[in-house]
Subunit: 197 residues, 2 copies
DNA sequence: TTCGCTACCTATCATTGATAGGTTGACACG
DNA sequence: CGTGTCAACCTATCAATGATAGGTAGCGAA
């Protein structure tokens, strides 16, 4: 087994993922064809299938990548200096900022309709998401110094609230929102407050 | 202009909408073809286009219909008897229940990716959504006895929180949620509390 | 009867995701 | 220096999809 071809294959894979993400961002995840992706990369459309099982597989891999980025940002916030409340707020800001900046990734990870992906891929996405949520849950446990059902409820509720803001801002940009930053701050303030009830 | 044919046409339209909604619920909005809808109705696939501009147009009309149902439920909660807090909680329960029961409608209304719908349709959906949100906003104004930016912020934040819970429960059913009813109650309790800050 | 119009049909299109099967060029090895 | 192997890529093609073109049946009005 030679090394060079494998290296090139990995590069191609990355190249495809990057171009796909760019196109998804520009035109919406559902409005990009495999032919457009292939053209952007500079290869034929069937060649994509040498690197990915299906079009959906590309989206799945981008989703996993997105979860990793989000996990990293949330973990950084969790271990930052500051009071527990500050760390919670910081994590919320990272979460919302990630969703708004990486909207294509966020859509793929959280907002796409249930697909017909293979169980293996479903499992992979699920575990990525679990790792992500675990960071939030752990911070709630630390803040409340307990690990009971109530803490789990609060963490899940907080996650839902943060997701809701990102999802609505992304899917309804034409809505007459108040100043976006003010809304985010207000929203996160109330979300964080729950942890200290 | 005769009357009978028009009546029949309206019936067909309703029939198509009903079958489409049923199929969307069963198989997911993205996984239903125009041929399947036509077959369920008992007409040829091109005949659908005598009643709707496009496949997307069917989804748009279902979306508007969904908003009307949701508005009705929220309005009923707003004008029910009880303390303001109770009415808020009741409205939240109606919102979440609607989303979970009418998941296809909710998906179409709130969770579908930006489409290429004609501006006219976009506008119609937007106004349906506005009317829906106005009911929540009005209740917040009543509860807080004020109509300022802060009240708008709280209402938008509350909407985001409720949407987030519905959206996550729908899109991640495999997540290890705590007892669903307990989570909803806990979540709504915190959402409602904001109105009285 | 004949006109006209509505609702429907069959036939067909371009585009899509995906597969089949052949070609090329770099590297390993005699 | 030939020569085999194999990864990476290509062209040709498929079935399914959303959508359009054009024709027809049947009903009410004149």
């Amino acid at each position: 087994m030679t090394v060079a071809p494998t290296q090139r294959t990995e590069d191609r894979r990355e190249q495809i993922l990057n171009e796909a993400m760019r196109l998804f961002l520009d035109h919406g995840v559902q409005n990009v064809s495999t032919r457009e992706i292939a053209k952007a990369v500079g290869i034929s459309q069937p060649s994509l299938y040498a690197h990915f099982k299906s079009r959906e597989d590309i989206a799945v891999k981008l989703s996993e990548r997105a979860f990793e980025q989000l996990s990293a940002r949330m973990a950084a916030a969790a271990s930052s200096t500051g009071t527990p409340h500050e760390r919670l707020h910081s994590m919320g800001q990272e979460y919302v900022a990630f969703g708004l900046e990486q909207s294509a990734a966020y859509r793929i990870a959280f907002m796409l309709e249930k697909t017909t992906a293979h169980p293996t891929d479903q499992q992979a996405i699920h575990e990525s998401g679990m790792r992500c949520f675990a960071i939030l849950h752990d911070l709630f446990k630390t803040v409340r110094n307990s690990d009971d059902l109530n803490t789990a409820a609060l963490a899940q509720s907080a996650w839902a609230s943060m997701h809701g803001l990102v999802a609505l801002l992304l899917s309804r940009p034409e809505f007459p929102w108040i100043d976006q930053n003010a809304l985010i701050t207000c929203h996160l303030e109330h979300v964080c407050r729950r942890a200290f009830d």
